[in-house]
Amino acid sequence: MDQVSTVSQTTGVPLAWFLAVGAILFCLGFIGVLTRRNVLVVFMSAELMMNAVNLTLIAFSASLNSMAGQNFVVFVVTIAAAEAAVGLAIIISMVRQKPTVDTTDMDLMQE
């Protein structure tokens, strides 16, 4: 096996496995975002999607021996944290306005 297809010499786990896990996680998250009505669950699913991408990035980073992917991940994690804080705050304030966590009921901007 050449350098590209293995994540590292030490573990010997092939890159494709990581990618597969990432893809599966991503799809799970995506399906969650699409199908669930509970806004908290939608939110968590979105986080899941992001982490799937993170996994993929790290995998590539290790396999390509470049730090660029990991740099991105650090940024994404940071932003995700901020986003979680802001997002949850928004959800809480919305719930205060209208006691529901169902996305279909959140139609303030709809005519």
Binding site: F30, V33, L34, V42, T103, T104, D107, M109
Partner: protein, 666 residues
């Protein structure tokens, strides 16, 4: 000690400016004292100017004195300084401006203090009056064209402020605005002229200094080189356009009569003695250029003559005492330009000087009469200036009468009063130089001058007593003049030069003033037509003829307005068209209102509508188009977030499929 005063010539400028600044800042606190501060400082400036004048007299050959202060506008090859030039012409102008200026300041203390209008604004008045003196001095002292333009516009500003002094009256503020804008029409030409001069002489006269311009122009003239752009005639005509505005020449004369809405001392100083002669000064100052453009000089002569006639005819029919004098001013300014145009340079300046004295006096005299009318209880500005409300003022205001008579005789050109010598020199100068037509028309204008002047004298001071009964009682009860020495002392002060100033130019064409001013016009005399000076046969003949003409004019006035007072009425009945044309000032105002003002406004409205409908319409049209399409596309936005997510997912899938599975196969 040599040239001591020349070296402190800046003081002449600074003193009136100081007066203006003091009165601007502290005028309200000072009250009536503001007037005395202004008068004192202007008089002080006059004393310094006398010193300057004496220094100039003592300079050998009238050599000009230049005084550089600092660089004003340096930009590339364009570099204009704040710098002054004192030569005989400047010295003469200094004397006129500050001499008449001091007297008018003195007079204003009386005239404005007793002002019965609600807003006295003494401080404002005595801020702008010395400021005017300052501006006028910049104009005459400048050694380059652009600094002259500064003074040129600054006198316009002070004129604007003083014409509109009683700003609550719409007529006054209208008149002020009209004066400024009409002047600006002239300035349009003036500025173009300056630029054209610069473009042509930029290599030699970067600073627009007169001396440099003259030198550059003379070099080109002598070597028969054509100019880079345009020619000297165009330059001179453009510059003359400025003079036409400032000096109220046909067809830009319309602002001057309206300017009479200002207080009378203002009319005397600005609109008779000094500011309106700025155009004459400018053309005289630039005489080497004009001499190179004989066609332009011809135009100057034609415009001058036309104006002389035009003013004189209109003055015949006016009933407002100040308007008559104003049209007389227009007419006399026409004489000056005619003089310049035919090449009688010194005569024109000579007439400028004498005219400043007698016309200033005429205005101050009218002011006294008006003030008397106010004093007698006639407060309406129109009524108190209407000569049909006057009569028999001779007995009521004797000092005013005698001085007014002196000024009228001077204006009409009766020997030996000041105006006789100067006006005759212009008429004689034109005829002797072969401009028969100009001379003849000016002679006819001289007849009209005597006629309208003595119409005024007879109607106001003699004739039927038309003063309303109430007012007459006040007049007869006390000698109005006695109560206001400030109003008659200045009259006497001006009456002296109005009588004797003519001897500055005695004998004709070889008097003191000719000698004094000859260095200024050296180039012009060299290239113009020489005429024999002194009491030569033709000169004496012309003197006699013009005296006869003036006497006939006075006689006609006597006949029509003293002896057979129904004559004017008969005339207006027989020739209503002509009479109305004169009364309505040959319909100039109506014409300009219709064509220029209304036309301009219509154009402006059109452009505004264009701006709103077409240009902004296009902008709003684009915006409208966007929002219409946006409205249609909006329906895709259901607001159901998961729907969007699905769309994104499907899109990504499609893209990936395309990129990785369809595209590589190709």
């Amino acid at each position: 000690m040599q040239d001591f005063f020349l070296n402190i010539v800046w003081l002449v400028l600074l003193l009136p400016l100081l007066a203006a600044v003091i009165n601007l800042l502290f005028g309200r606190v000072l009250g009536a004292k503001a007037g005395w501060i202004a008068t004192g400082l202007v008089f002080l400036a006059f004393l310094v100017a006398v010193g300057v004048f004496i220094d100039v007299l003592n300079r050998p050959g009238g050599a000009p004195f230049e005084y550089d202060v600092y660089t004003w506008i340096p930009s590339g090859d364009f570099k204009v300084d704040i710098a002054f030039l004192v030569d005989p012409l400047t010295a003469v102008m200094l004397m006129v401006v500050l001499g008449v200026g001091s007297v008018v300041h003195l007079y204003s203390n009386g005239y404005m203090a007793d002002d019965d209008r609600p807003d006295k604004g003494i401080a404002r008045f005595f801020t702008f009056l010395p400021f005017f003196i300052f501006s006028m001095l910049i104009l005459v002292l400048s050694n380059n064209l652009l600094l002259l333009f500064v003074g040129w516009e600054a006198v316009g500003l002070s004129s604007y402020m003083l014409i509109g002094f009683w700003y609550n009256k719409k007529v006054a503020s209208d008149a002020a605005k009209k004066a400024f804008i009409v002047n600006r029409i002239g300035d349009f030409g003036f500025e173009l002229g300056i630029m054209l001069l610069f473009v042509n002489f930029s290599t030699m006269a970067t600073d627009l200094r007169y001396t440099d311009i003259f030198k550059a122009a003379t070099d080109m003239f002598n070597s028969n080189q054509p100019l880079l752009l345009g020619n000297m005639t165009i330059i001179c005509l453009l510059l003359f356009m400025g003079a036409m505005g400032k000096s109220a020449q046909f067809p830009l004369h319309v602002w001057l009569p309206d300017a009479m809405e200002g207080p009378t001392p203002v009319s005397a100083l600005i609109h008779a003695a000094t500011m309106v002669t700025a155009g004459v000064y400018m053309v005289a100052r630039l005489n080497p250029l004009f001499v190179m453009a004989p066609d332009a000089l011809l135009v100057v002569a034609i415009i001058g003559t036309t104006t002389a006639l035009l003013g004189a005819t209109i003055a015949l029919a006016q009933t407002d005492i100040k308007k008559v004098v104003a049209y007389s001013t227009i007419s006399q300014l026409g004489y000056m330009f005619a003089g310049l145009g035919v090449g009688a340079w010194v005569a024109a300046i000579f007439h400028l000087v004498t005219h400043a004295f007698f016309k200033g006096l005429l205005f101050l005299g009218s002011g006294s009469v008006i003030h008397g009318m106010h004093h007698a209880g006639i407060h309406d500005p129109v009524e108190s200036q209407d000569i049909r409300n006057m009569g028999q003022m001779r007995k009521r205001m004797p000092i005013t009468f005698w001085t007014f008579l002196v000024a009228s005789l001077a204006n009409a050109g009766i020997i030996p009063f000041a105006g006789f010598w100067s006006k005759d020199e212009i008429i004689g100068g034109s005829i002797l130089r072969g401009n028969w037509f100009v001379g003849g028309l000016l002679l006819f204008a001289a007849f009209l001058t005597a006629l309208y002047m003595f119409r005024l004298v007879f109607v106001v001071f003699f004739g039927k007593d038309n003063v309303p009964k109430e007012a007459a009682k006040v007049f007869d009860g006390e000698r109005v003049e006695r109560t206001m020495p400030l109003l008659w002392i200045p009259l006497v002060l001006l009456a002296i030069p109005a009588t004797i100033a003519g001897f500055l130019g005695f004998p004709p064409d070889m008097g003191w003033i000719h000698d004094f001013l000859s260095p200024v016009f050296a180039f012009a005399t060299e290239h113009g037509k020489e005429i024999e000076a002194g009491f030569t046969q033709p000169t004496v003949l012309i003197l006699v003829i013009s005296t006869m003409v003036a006497i006939i004019g006075i006689f006609a006035a006597w006949l029509a307005y003293f002896r057979q007072t129904d004559m004017p009425a008969t005339f207006s009945r027989l020739m209503p068209g002509l009479y109305n044309a004169l009364l309505r000032k040959w319909y100039f105002d109506e014409f300009y209102q219709k064509i220029v003002v209304d036309g301009g406004k219509a154009l402006a409205y059109g452009l505004w509508r264009f701006d709103q409908k077409v240009i902004d319409g296009a902008v709003n049209g684009v915006a409208g188009l966007m929002s219409r399409w946006g409205g249609r596309l909006r329906r895709l936005q259901t607001g159901f977030v998961q729907g969007y997510a699905l769309a994104i997912g499907v899109g990504v899938l499609a893209l990936v499929t395309y990129l990785f599975f369809i595209l590589p196969k190709g």
